[in-house]
């Protein structure tokens, strides 16, 4: 773990340039950002998008205690002790979040949940969790973003608005790059966007297909039928999808004619009625298309290391999210062991949230229950979740104050290059200290 503790201090007032820093705001994980740093503050983030600039320029040193216990400043030692006591006292402890922590910290979180026979879940469950279920059912025909940049000549976005969620997606990976087999860049590609709204991304589309709300499943199965040459009733197709059969037929012809097709998909698919059935339909369509040409699908992942969370939890437990250890071995069951459910059903009786904000993002029943149980929260900033926590740790920001490893949305691991030191501990340090105490309480001596 030398990478997370390496000093990046500079003398007061002196400018420092950090080249090829990694932005961890979104799943694009752009690793070509040049940072200008002065007095523990980033003053410029060259090549960063609007979200990346906001990320880098607003993560200075938080003027808050590193630890609050019951809302009052406390020593870190007192916080670690109380955290370990909370996690080992409950009957149904949960650990949730992890998508904005480096893999090294995620690994420790999984160890803790193992020691306490708890349940671990990541923000994947409320983002591409349904896609994770679909991967298990259908499989994933996939590739790296580098292959998209070099080969992708038909780029589709389904229920995804990268212009606002992943602003450099078009320019760095999917539409604009001049690739090995696409020497003219954007001119060699066709962009198709399927959405219920004419989003800001729609401006980038050569073809925009506006489907009816909650008709993703029907639209995807229309394409599956057309791929197989099945005749469809135009009236039924228009009624069920809100789009003329002729538009779908034209799209399928373009998909079959492509040399390398890509479907990027987003929350419009997974958060809408149908959820994993929608993702399964999209992945099955992608698989079907490989009878005619090369076609891949990729979820556009939101948080900087949510893909790392999937990987780390999977290689530690065998499952990517929603994993319960109450019987002493891991069990996976979305809808039961996922945090939206363990909270809304009133089952969890203590917990720890890491780099996430369920008190802002979860349903009201889930939030009400979380506010009624003792929990620990780790975050770089004050949030509704840290405000209601029994123990709140202000932690250093990964990628700005600490190093480590994150996974880009295409499962490519990327190293972090920190810019300046923080007086606050890292996620890794906090979790390691809590794990040490938890092991002592439950009688693990090794």
């Amino acid at each position: 773990m030398a990478a997370t503790t390496e000093s990046t201090a500079t003398p007061p007032g002196e400018l420092k340039i950090v080249q090829d820093a990694t932005c961890t705001f979104c799943g694009c994980v752009c690793d070509d950002i040049d940072l200008t740093v002065q007095d523990n503050h980033i003053t410029e983030a060259k090549r960063a998008c609007v979200l990346g600039k906001a990320w880098f320029l607003n993560h200075s040193i938080e003027d808050r205690p590193s630890c609050l216990v019951d809302g009052k400043p406390a020593t870190l030692e007192a916080g670690y002790d109380r955290a370990a006591q909370i996690l080992t006292t409950g009957k149904y402890p949960i650990i949730y979040g992890l998508s904005d922590s480096p893999c090294e910290a995620q690994r420790v979180a999984v160890s803790i949940v193992d020691w306490i026979n708890g349940t671990i879940d990541t923000t994947t469950s409320v983002c591409h969790g349904p896609s994770g279920m679909a991967f298990q059912g259908v499989g994933e025909v996939t590739c790296s973003l580098g292959e998209v940049a070099n080969r992708g000549d038909l780029i589709m976005f389904w229920g995804s608005n990268p212009a606002e969620s992943h602003p450099r997606h078009f320019t760095k990976y999917s539409l604009m790059p001049k690739g090995m087999f696409l020497p003219n860049g954007r001119k060699d590609r066709t962009c198709v966007i399927v959405d219920v709204r004419r989003t800001k991304s729609a401006k980038a589309a050569d073809i925009f297909v506006q489907i009816k709300p909650r008709a993703d499943f029907e639209g995807l199965w229309t394409l599956r039928a057309l791929a197989k040459g099945i005749d469809l009733d135009p009236k039924v197709v228009l009624r069920d999808t809100g789009v003329e059969l002729a538009v779908w037929t034209d799209l399928m012809a373009r998909m079959k004619a492509a040399k390398f097709g890509v479907i990027f998909f987003g929350m419009g698919v997974t958060m809408t009625r149908g959820k994993h059935a929608n993702s399964e339909a999209l992945l099955a369509l992608t698989r079907d298309m490989n009878a005619y040409t090369r076609f891949v699908a990729k979820p556009n992942r939101g948080h900087g290391n949510v893909t790392g969370a999937d990987n780390v939890v999977a290689w530690r437990t065998g499952y990517p999210f929603g994993v319960n250890h109450s019987r002493g071995y891991p069990r996976f069951n979305p809808g039961e062991y996922t945090t939206s459910d363990t909270l809304a059903n009133g089952e969890a009786d203590c917990g720890m949230t890491i780099a996430c904000d369920p008190m802002a993002n979860f349903s009201q029943p889930a939030r009400q229950h979380l506010s009624s149980i003792p929990y620990i929260a780790l975050d770089t900033k004050e949030t509704p979740t840290t405000r209601a926590a029994a123990v709140a740790f202000t932690v250093a920001t990964y990628g700005i104050n600490t190093g480590g490893t994150v996974y880009r949305m295409d499962d490519v691991p990327i190293p972090l290059r920190p810019a300046f030191d923080s007086p606050h501990p890292s996620d890794f340090e906090v979790l390691t200290q809590i794990e040490r105490r938890v092991k002592k309480i439950v009688g693990i001596t090794s």
């Binding site: 906001a54 409320v126 989003t199 709300p213 809408t272 979305p334 349903s363």
Partner: protein
Amino acid sequence: MPETFILIPGRTSDQGCGISEGKFLEKYQREINTLQVPPGDMARLGLVDGDRVRLTGEDGQVVEVNITPAKKDELPEGMLFIAYGDISSRLMGGDTHGSGMPTSKGMDVRLEKV
């Protein structure tokens, strides 16, 4: 009489930047507490920019929120948009239908002027 709309919560640039700037600061709070309504629906219902409306969710959840017209043709009539945040979370149900994911987009809501 309340009218039924389909609500699509989602990411916006200002909401994303607001997360980094601070969730208790004005930019984030303004973004997550402003409902975008198609201009045609606003005219039909006699609503103007800045009006306050009451939304009732599928499970009876009730929230009040300020409205603003959606840009150009970004929203078809009958559809509402709001940035992810407290209001959209209050309108989600606790049931995930065995998926771990509450229905967080495409929710039916009833809208009436306060």
